[in-house]
Amino acid sequence: MTPLAELLVLLLSPAVPLLLAVATMIRPAASTLQRAAPWAALPGLATGLSMSPGIAATVPWVLQGSEFGLDHTGRTFLVFSAAIWLAAGMAARAWIADRPGRFWSYFLLVMSGSLGLIIARDMLGFYLFFTVMSFASYGLVAHRRNQRARHAGSVYVTFVLAADMMIYAAMVLIARETGGDLLFETARGVLSDAPDRDLVMTLLVVGFGVKVGLLGIHVTLPLMYGAAPTPAGVVLAGVLTGAGLLGWLRLLPLEAGAVPEWGRLLMAAGAAAAFYGALVGLTQREPRVVLAYSSISQMGIMTVGVGGAVGAPGGGGALLSAVSLYALHHGFAKAALFLGAGVAERVSPRHRPLVSVGLVVAALALTGAPLTTGMLAKETLKEALAAASLPWSQPVKLALPWMSFATTLVLARFLWVAWPDVARGGRPGAGPVVAWVGLLVLTVSAAWLWPMDMAPELWRAAVLWETSWPVLLGASVSAAAVLAVRRRARPFAAWRVVPPGDVLVVMTAVAAVLVRGWLAVARRGLPAAGRAARNWLRLLLRPPWSRAAAAAEAWLAAWPVALTLLLGGIVTFWLLLLW
């Protein structure tokens, strides 16, 4: 193919969903459009599967002259993202009954953004698609129009706006260093020696971290997953977290000129998120919210990999591939679990065993049990971490099996709450079931088939044991807990739910106080500031804090807390070793 033809084919991946999105906005009720919409990801999937990496072409008139292309990382992300979009589209066709036209226009817009950012090779092109994706996702999160969706939507859009501004500022600062060259390669190259390196790194890590679910700003994930309709949740869980991760992989300095401090920081944050996500996930009662916390935990593991790549003295090329593979594996498995939760809600009693098997298969893959893609992804990551010769890789190596243990616990919790044993009525329909089975097949196979330039040695007794015991231990602990609850053992009566979004409660309280203060000043002028300040203090000392303290005390008595506090202790010990 000529370069122009290649470029046009490449641009079809975002252009087809974009054009369909515009068409659906104009004619929301057109049934032809709604029939076509689920297939909008096909060009992206075909491009990802068939096109050889390495092509690149410039579109000179767009923004500052944008460049598009496909490299190995991009190909990985394009294939799994497009496949998940396809599955989600099939589910949406059957399950979205309320205002489908509106849903599709946002769905397709997000799709266009999420596929377009993968083929971007420069900062502004990436930012363009990233922004489209981020803001259009609001329509998916808020689709249900109930109080919960509204709340999730406003929290989400606040974080998105802040993150967007941060990414903008980071790009401006990088562009200053490169002298206006916006290509990723150049940008990555200058960052490690830039004078405001720490500022830029902070902006990038936090800006994309909102999508990744970085610890501390992970609060949007549980709200979004809980509020969005299931087909939308499938892509939020399977694709959007990956987009944030890709932002990191594109812009953080992974190649040369290691930044050890940042590597260490990211690894610590990732490890902490891996355990924290699992801890809070255990206390949740809704399948989708449990999955959100599992995502926070899994993205934490990937953050460890990214941190390793940033800190690696010899560059993080191997880790880059390993993290991409992990993202592919996690995308499929998480999407399968999410869609599975939707199927389980609708399945008839006769098919329950089959659905249960499917859920267990996907869950096992995510835990990294032997023979699963999770095992491959984790071992690849482990090997790449070892090869990166980081001075502090030992504690991480010790922590990885415990992360699998934590994953097993939280997924057991998911299976527990999502188990198809209550008649909820309805039928899943053929499309979603086909999509789900497809995702399950990809979950168990895709990572094995994906071309990688390294292959960890898996079939040794030590490796098999190391991947088995965390899952077995986690499964046993969970089984014991389920039995205990069935027998109504006393400690479980006190099991409390942490509100989805956990620390968001604190953030909202602080924000409310600030906004109230500003309103007082804005309405009544500066003299009111003194009174407002006094009110702030009073608010700070009043409930909800005291109530929260009481709740926290009761909550501490629950077993997941005790259990994971123990884990937390172990982690802290390791983290101390790190420094």
Partner: protein, 499 residues
């Protein structure tokens, strides 16, 4: 008179002549008036297009009449002038179409369209002024011709707003006049020069020059709505929608901010202004205006008032770009002159559509309005997202260059101001979009004036904001195309700095 000298005059006459003729024909000649308006506007765009191509080609268009001894009335179509000339001609056409539809049933259309045409003539004059005196003449003409438009409705509120407007702008004009006289006495000339004309004066005069700068900027700062001189602008939003569009996007505010650009670049020279220490305080004033305007906009429930405070904030992006010394910041500031115009005119025209069709004036009445008027709200949304500075809309291009220019000049705080402003823009625009698109509409619209046809409102009202919204998207996405305002501004910006 050669063609190159006649063309600037023809451009002026293409709106002045229809204006005068409109005063001459009776109120009831509706078709004739519309024809005159549209013919003038189209002719102007065509003439300006010819002139712009010529300027791009390196031709010089200049017309001079001796006015006083040693002082000419000079019309010079330099590249910077063309920026505002093209903007105001194109947007005048758009606004004229809109105004014809908007004032369909209202009285005093003759007065309205007459002054409307003169107002645009004045703006083009301000743009093409070759020296400070010519600038002042057209600047005052603009003040006088917009007053009848602001008070057009004739209500008490409108008259009060008009009085405030006159007090502010005439005072500003007087101050400006004083500054010009002093500068003439000092420098012996007030002719604009590509890199300023005062840098040759002896160092002993630098104190006076700094003071004159303050006076001149204070004079034009009234129209540019710099805090604390912005008080007239939110009040003036009582005017009909096309007038607001004109005030905020095309003429008045733009004339003020264009004056600041002229003073910094063509009177003092960018680098000399920096040497005198004049631009840093100006940048600070601009930054304060940006943040203050946004903060005030947060609390306005009246849609047009919120938009007015947003103008206060956004126009100072241009001042900020001018006051931060560096080629990229200059580009960012100048290009925002065009970009802000496109976005703000869209917003005001959409607000006008809501008012005219559904009698909606407050944001709290806008719940679900996108269900009733999807095209209007789509245009509004594009412009609002552009104001936040999201790609690929034109607002992002401005913000990108302003941010780059800030860090290039070593003034990284500019970037922080832009980030804060973007957040605040989001905080006051996104709730409007949310209400319009995601809230449930009332069971029926109490004052629905719409026609029972397929369109949500008349074509005359719908086409103009859709056009400008399209340009907001198109010129942002294709910012590097040869025809984009960005390219032109990069050409202009190159002239301001020593090679």
């Amino acid at each position: 008179m050669s063609w190159n000298a006649a063309l600037p005059l023809l451009v002026l006459l293409s709106s002045l002549a229809p204006g005068v003729l409109i005063f001459a024909i009776p109120e009831s000649f509706r078709r004739w008036r519309t024809l005159l308006n549209l013919a003038g506007a189209v002719l102007k765009v065509a003439l300006v297009g010819v002139m712009a191509l010529g300027v791009a080609d390196g031709q010089e268009f200049e017309l001079r009449f001796p006015l006083l001894p040693g002082m000419d009335l000079a019309l010079v179509a330099d590249p910077l002038a063309m920026l505002l000339v093209v903007l105001s001609s194109v947007l005048w056409l758009v606004t004229t179409v809109y105004a014809v539809g908007y004032l369909e049933r209202s009285p005093h259309r003759r007065r309205f369209f007459g002054f409307f045409s003169i107002c645009v003539t004045a703006t083009v004059g301000v743009a093409m002024a070759g020296n400070l005196l010519t600038f002042l003449l057209f600047y005052e003409l603009l003040t006088l011709s917009t007053y009848p438009l602001v008070v057009h409705r004739g209500t008490d509120v409108a008259r009060r707003a008009g009085r405030v407007y006159l007090i502010y702008t005439l005072t500003g004009g007087t101050v400006l006049f004083g500054g010009i006289v002093w500068l003439y006495v000092l420098a012996g000339t007030v002719e604009f020069a590509p890199r300023g004309f005062v840098s040759g004066l002896p160092a002993s005069e630098h104190g006076s020059l700094a003071l004159i700068f303050l006076i001149l900027v204070a004079g034009v700062g009234v129209k540019a709505a710099l805090v604390p001189l912005h008080g007239w602008l939110p009040r003036a939003m009582v005017a009909p929608a096309p007038v607001s569009a004109l005030l905020h996007a095309v003429a008045v505010v733009k004339a003020g901010v264009f004056g600041i650009v002229r003073i910094v670049q063509n009177v003092y020279g960018v680098e000399f202004s920096l040497d005198l220490g004049l631009t840093p305080p100006l940048a600070v004033v601009a930054a304060v205006t940006i943040v203050y305007g946004s903060l005030r906009a947060l609390h306005q429930d009246d849609l047009k008032r919120r938009l007015a405070f947003s103008t206060v904030s956004q126009v100072s992006y241009i001042v900020l770009g001018t006051a931060v010394v560096g080629p990229l910041a200059t580009v960012g500031g100048l290009v925002h002159l065009v970009h802000q115009g496109l976005m703000k005119i869209t917003l005001f025209l959409c607000a006008g559509n809501l008012a005219e069709t559904l009698d909606i004036h407050r944001i709290s009445e806008m719940n679900g309005v996108a269900r009733r008027m999807p095209w209007t709200m789509a245009a509004f949304s594009v412009a609002a997202l552009g104001m936040i500075g999201l790609p690929p809309l034109v607002g992002f291009i401005s913000k990108w260059y302003l941010g780059l220019g800030g860090v290039e000049a070593g003034e990284s705080w500019v970037l922080a101001v832009l980030v804060v402003s973007g957040m605040l823009n989001g905080a006051y625009f996104l709730p409007i979009l949310y209400a319009a698109w995601f809230r449930e509409p009332p069971p029926r619209w109490p004052h629905d004036q719409g026609s029972p046809g397929r369109l949500e409102t008349s074509w005359w009202l719908l086409a103009p904001p859709l056009t400008t919204a399209f340009l907001t998207l198109f010129l942002g996405l294709l910012a590097s195309a040869p025809f984009s305002p960005l390219r032109w501004v990069q050409f202009v910006g190159g002239l301001v700095y020593e090679p």
